[in-house]
Amino acid sequence: MATRIATVQRPKRDLEVQIYLWEVWKGLGVTFRHLFVNMGRHVLRSLGLGRVPGAVTIQYPEDPAMLGRRARTRHRLLKRADGSPRCTACLLCETICPAKCIRITAEDSPDVMVEKRAKTFDIDIGMCVFCGYCVEACPVDAIHMDSNEVEICSYTRKDMIWNIQELLGDKKKTPSAHPAPTHAASAPPKP
């Protein structure tokens, strides 16, 4: 295999650069240009004349966060056409999960063609590392990570566990209220 050689020119350090003042002016030119262009855009926009924003900042809680189309977000369980969960409780996702945060208990399904279904299906999102392995492992395409929900938080660790109804979207997750901070609560748990 031929070796490719790239020649990188060393930056010049002639008198013009050494004097530095001219370089300072060039730098100031760049920053002044940005300053005045952005300032003009801000002013035009606040007067309702221009549409180009003066800054790239997203004012996050007010403006929605921009997620990539393939971003992995909070899990959701999918349903069949008849409304029953697609999951067949094969435990492949529970097995592959590197964070060990999926807990499934299986039961007989009334549908003989399906044989098994999940009785409980809990994901502890607080422990999930959002690797997406569970989605890839599922043979029946029952679990997706495309809810576009990233603002998952709660006051207790227990509230981070989502059960099957919540994952299916049948029930809205209702977080418990902020517990009054007590000294006992902040103490480390007894072994």
């Binding site: 730098g27 920053t31 952005n38 790239v56």
Partner: protein, 350 residues
Amino acid sequence: MTADRIFTAVKVALALAFGMNIAGLLGWVERKQSAVMQDRIGANRASIFGLRLIGLFHPIADALKMMTKEDFVPKNANRLLHAAAPMIALGFGLLCLAALPFGGTVTVAGRLWSLQPIESSVGLLFVLAMLSLGVHGVVMAGYASGSNYGLLGGLRGAAQMISYEVCLASTLAAAAFLYGTLDLQQMVRWQGHSLGGWLPAWGIFLQPLGFVLFLTAGAAETKRAPFDVPEGESEIVGYHVEYSGMKFGMFLISDFIESIVIAGLIATIYLGGWQVPWVTTLDGISGGILMLISFTVKVLLVLFLLMQIRWTLPRFRFDQVLDLGWKNILPLALFNFLATVWAVYLWGGR
């Protein structure tokens, strides 16, 4: 007599208020200007009753935060010097402000009023002396903290500020020789005539090299980027590592005050002070107000330029700072002085 004293005291108080308010405003300008030139928005969340006013309340929030923070003194610090250092740094900076000629003299109600707080025939020396005394705050802070990082920062600060004071003084020597006075007020008056009938005889046109040198040395004197080796808050921590709460805030404000002093000196010596170009007679109340506005606008413009430089250039290494001062600016300043002396000898100063 008593009325004069009271008037002087009022003027000094107003000069200090001018400094403190502009320093507070600079806290906002610093954030916003850097943000806009970096395509960001900048701090805009502080609100009073939902009113945000493009972040103008942030300086107030800053002050509240500083005042309510814990005032921590390290165990092996010298408590007295530790407390005195920020006051020295800030106090001498503020004193400089009181000697700046904010305006000339106006006749109101049949009486002559001078708008300069402290009138002195050696005002320039006074300002330089007070600026140098401010160095003690920096060194003292480093020394009294009982921390090696602080001490090293203080030493860097002392080396830098003393070097650049030499540059400042030798640059100003040329200007003082040209104007033939050390009185800041007289300097401004001297710049009142015009060159060739249309160009105001400002220092920047007669001393262009001196202006550039003074701007550079002045920026170094304020200890702000690109000359922020004494503080280097992002990695090589500086003389105020061991400070918290309002004492730290005083160091921050003293930086701003020093910038204002430098900007005021540049406006006075190189930009014609309170002179309004092409207006020769300023008198009465309206004239006085015009003088004050003219001076303030010039100071703010220089501060704007200093702020832009601060957010454009990366920090010099310590040896580069000293090289620049001793090997470049000082010889150029001496050359500038000699050239001025020759020019005045040949063409005659006024």
